[in-house]
Each structure stands twice: as C-alpha cells, then as structure tokens.
C-alpha cells in the first residue's frame, strides 16, 4: 500500500526527469515541467534525483496516506496542509497512517511536486515513469490521476526519522513571479529577424496565453518578423526552443513538445531558467534577456555545483543523524 487519491485534482500526473534516447522515434522526453524542483525534493528525501513524483496543478488532488511516509513538496506553493496543519515546501515531513494531505490555495507558481522517501512503485516505459499523455503510456495507466487511484510505495519502509528536518537553503529555492526575466541564447534563425524585431523581442513583455499547456506556451506581445519568409525542413527542437510561426508571435516549447518542427528557431531558454518558465502559467509575463552560449554554460555549471553541495550536505547530515 501507499497513497490513494481521495479527490482528483484538475491535472495531476506522474513525472520524472524524462525519457531519453527515443526522440529519433518521435518519442519526446517529457518529464517534469520544473525539473529543478523535482531534483531538489528528491535530494532532501535521499532519493535518486530522477525518482518520479506527482506533478500537480491547482486545484490539486487530496491525498490519503495508507501507510506512514516521509514526504516533501516543492515548486509551486499551494498552501499545503497535513491533517489541517501547514506543511511548508522544500522540507521533509512525516505523514502518519491515515493522514490527509490537502492544498488550499495557489500562493505562487503553477506546478507543485509531491515526492516520498524511496519513491512510488511505477512501471518504467523506455526507462522512465513519466506520463506521456499523447501516447497514453507511463505513470499511472498513461493518464492523469483520478479519484481512488492507488499508488504503492516502492519499498516497505518504517518512517525514517533520520530523513526528517531536511530543508533546502533559501538561496537554492526558486522564487516564482508573475513577471519573470527569462534568459535565452540565440537560435539559428535569430539572424534573420529584422532589426526592429530584434529590438522588440527584448523591449516588452510577452504574456502567456490561455492556449498554453505542457506542450508549449503561446506568447502574446510585440509581433516579430523575419527578413524573408523561411520554409524550413523539419528538424529537432527542444524543451525551451522559441519558435516563430508565420503569424509573428513566439511559441515557447515546453516539456511535452513535439520532437521535430519546421518553424524558425529564434531562441532557446537556458536550462537554468526552464524551471522558472515551468512554474508560469496563462496571464504571466516573460521578459526575454539575451545571453551568450558561454554565459549560459557558466550559469549551468555554477548551478550544478550548488546542487552538488546540497547533495553532499544531505549525505553528511543523514550520516550524523544515524550516529
């Protein structure tokens, strides 16, 4: 036994860090929209960073623990309570048998991650537990969670008290904002933008339209134009690719993007900021900022160093707690 879904949320799925190696068959990596949030809660839970968790949108599901467990929440803040007592994000908590986890209000961000120590028992497809909704596979029966779904814990575990009280340093906790500076590197067709469009891209905010989901965000803002219309053969695109369709408004590809596309690629959101856009939703605004590939690499290396320190810190603290 593990948890059961007492009341389903609007859109909750099992996600991990993605399914890699199969893009050449048209199977996209998918995975969490905010991968950093997932990694961070797995680290404090002492799990592999890729351990699957439940990605929730608001209103989120209500969860009953059929067995005690150590759990953590991260990403969006949905004002969670465990048996009516607040349970803040980015910390490990203990749930007793019969405890109920509820989410009251959307305070910040769009996607909250719920993970448990040792993870859930989820069958892997092509190496990943992520739910692929287009292909109806992965996660729980290839679909979003429903009332009365039961998800087993992958290991019988007594509540491991030495995993309680872990917390993520404030400096590593992302701050979700409704207007967000998002850094991009140049895409290959950036050079084909008119001088005016190049200026406009960074001048005003782009609003995420209602017609946005895990596949991609349609952005609304300054229209952009290329020097000449380009008919391109389809080629690979990625999570974070900013395409420019002929109607002149950018399209930002997200976790469930199609593997290939033929629209001009004007930019690519840097990996560090994908987690920030992954926490945004319709009505939120993006201000693009241009960085070079060199800078993008440095930003990512610095982040990976910070995450590595967190990982080491958790290991040391866990060892101390055992002694």
């Amino acid at each position: 036994m593990g948890i059961s879904i007492k009341k389903a949320g609007v859109f909750d799925t099992i996600q991990d860090l993605g399914r890699f190696g199969f893009r050449k068959l048209g199977i996209n990596p998918g995975g969490a929209m905010d991968k950093n949030a997932l990694r961070l809660i797995n680290i404090i839970l002492g799990n592999p960073e890729s351990e699957p968790a439940i990605e929730m949108h608001f209103p989120a599901c209500q969860i009953v623990f059929e067995k005690p467990a150590v759990f953590a929440l991260g990403g969006a803040d949905f004002d969670a309570t465990l048996d009516k007592l607040p349970v803040p994000n980015w910390k490990t908590h203990l749930a007793k048998k019969g405890s109920i986890l509820s989410f009251r209000k959307k305070l910040s961000g769009s996607r909250c991650y719920f993970g448990i120590r040792h993870g859930f028992e989820i069958e892997r497809w092509l190496g990943s537990a992520s739910t692929n909704l287009a292909a109806n596979i992965g996660g729980v029966k290839g679909r979003q969670l429903r009332n009365d779904d039961q998800i087993r814990f992958s290991k019988a575990h007594a509540a491991e008290k030495n995993f309680l009280g872990f917390e993520i340093a404030t400096s590593l906790r992302p701050v979700s904002k409704t207007i967000q500076m998002i850094r991009i590197t140049k895409g290959i067709e950036y050079r084909d933008l008119t001088a005016l469009s190049e200026q406009r891209l960074f001048e005003g905010a782009y609003e995420i339209s209602n017609d946005s989901n895990r596949m991609g965000y349609k952005l609304d803002g300054n229209p952009l134009h290329l020097l000449s219309r380009k008919e391109l053969l389809s080629s690979a695109v990625g999570f974070g690719t900013v395409q420019l369709p002929p109607y002149g408004k950018p399209l930002l590809l997200m976790a469930d993007h199609q593997t290939t596309g033929g629209y001009p690629r004007i930019g690519h959101v840097i990996k560090r900021d994908l987690s920030l856009v992954g926490q945004m939703g319709p009505g939120d605004k993006i201000l693009f900022e241009l960085v070079s590939i060199d800078e993008a690499e440095k930003i990512e290396e610095q982040y990976e160093r910070d995450v590595a320190y967190l990982r080491m810190g958790v290991k040391f603290k866990q060892t101390d707690a055992k002694d």
């Binding site: 292909a135 690979a236 290939t260």
Partner: protein, 228 residues
C-alpha cells in the same frame, strides 16, 4: 573520406547542437545524416544524451557539465562537442545501404476519411481521383521519424499535388490519417492536433508502445500506398 556537402554547425540551446546540410530533401544527404548519427551513437562521448536525425540535419543532445568534466581547458562544452562531431564527420564512411524494406500501407480515400482531398484537388486543378492516382503512383522513402511517436516523414510528393500545410492547424486529426504537407507525406500514429492536408486513412498500427521496437517504420524504409 566522402565528398561532403556544405554544412553548418550551430547551437540549439546550451545542451545541444545541430549540424545542417542545407535545406533540401535528398537521399544522399539523408544517408550522410543517418550514418553520422550511428557513428556518434557508437562512439558516445562523455555527456552524450542522444542523436536526432532529420531530413538534412542531425541534432546531438548532451549534458554540458558532463561534456566538460574531463577538459580542464578554457574550451566550452559547445566547442568540445562540436569537435567530436567534426571528427566523426571527417572519418565518416557511407557503407552500401542494406536493401530497404518495402512496406505496403492500405489506405481508404473515402470522403469521411479524407476531409482535405477536395482542397488538394482544387490546388492541383485536377479531379479527386486523379489526385489519388498520382499519389498512389509513387513509392515513398521514410526520411525521418518525428513530431509524434512513430510518425514517418516521407518524400517526395509529386509537385502537381504538393499542397502546402493548412494555414491554421486542426485541433484534432484522427489516428491513421494520411496527409500531405508540401512535398512530404506522413501518417498520424495517434490522434493529435495537426496541420497536414488529410487525404485518406489507414488501419495499420504505426506505434505499439510495448514492442521492443515500438515504431513500425524506420528511416530508409520504402512505402507503397495501396487503395482499399
């Protein structure tokens, strides 16, 4: 060493790069792309994630912090991976390709399965049955898989019936729909939004998740459509 067409290498974000051999559909270029893809997959440099071959380009995904780990130099991960790709390219050999598989795909062109057949006929200034005859008269080659799991991008469509994509995509295209987009043709393995002109439907399964090789088609396959 083979005669290489002109190419350009550029970053696709900081964790991927694309090598592009121009913008035309050609069997020779596609063979270079797929051979290069296999070569890079088999040599697997540090930080390598996956290769995505397309018509005339290959994209290599990597994890930059791993790609850089071994190199205590001022080189960027992009420069390191680019040099892996260039070395693979310079030592590339194109073997004689295997005899390709020929796959027959039965298609129904009944009106209820072919919502855009009339539009394609208008574009071609031909009758619908003439469009079908022209469509059936060619054998197509699978140049790449992409877009959706197992979706084959095939070429080339006779220029007379090469109708461009719809100006705005349909919210729902039925599973098994056979479509035209310019000089390409494809089959939707799943129900999905899509912008191709739909001229028929097949019952054939293109994607079976639990098979060891989940997609029916591979790059290089030949496809012959037959009318049912």
């Amino acid at each position: 060493m083979i005669d290489l067409p002109k190419y350009e290498i550029f970053p696709l974000g900081e964790n991927a790069l694309t090598i592009c051999f121009g913008n035309s559909i050609s069997r020779e270029i596609n063979l270079i792309v797929t051979s290069l893809s296999k070569k890079i997959e088999s040599t697997k440099f540090q930080g390598f994630v996956e290769c995505v071959p397309a018509y005339s380009s290959l994209t290599v995904f990597f994890e930059l912090s791993k790609a850089k780990r071994k190199f205590r130099t001022a080189l960027t991960a992009y420069q390191i991976v680019k040099s892996h790709v260039e070395i693979a390219l310079q030592t590339l050999e194109i073997g004689q390709p295997k005899e390709p598989r020929l796959i027959e795909v039965p298609v129904s062109f009944e009106k209820r399965f072919a919502p855009d057949l009339e539009l394609v006929a208008e574009f071609a200034e031909l009758t619908e049955s003439e469009v079908i005859d022209i469509y059936l008269s060619s054998t197509y080659r699978v140049y790449m898989l992409g877009f959706l799991p197992g979706f084959p991008y095939m070429g080339e469509i006779d220029p007379r019936i090469a109708a461009p994509r719809k100006a705005s995509p349909r919210k729902q295209v039925a599973k098994g729909s056979v479509g035209i987009a310019g000089n390409q043709t494809g089959i939707y393995p799943l129900e999905s939004p899509g912008g191709w002109q739909i001229i028929g439907r097949t019952e054939i399964e293109l994607f079976t998740p639990n098979l060891e090789s989940p997609t029916l088609f591979n790059t290089g396959d030949l496809v012959k459509f037959v009318r049912i």
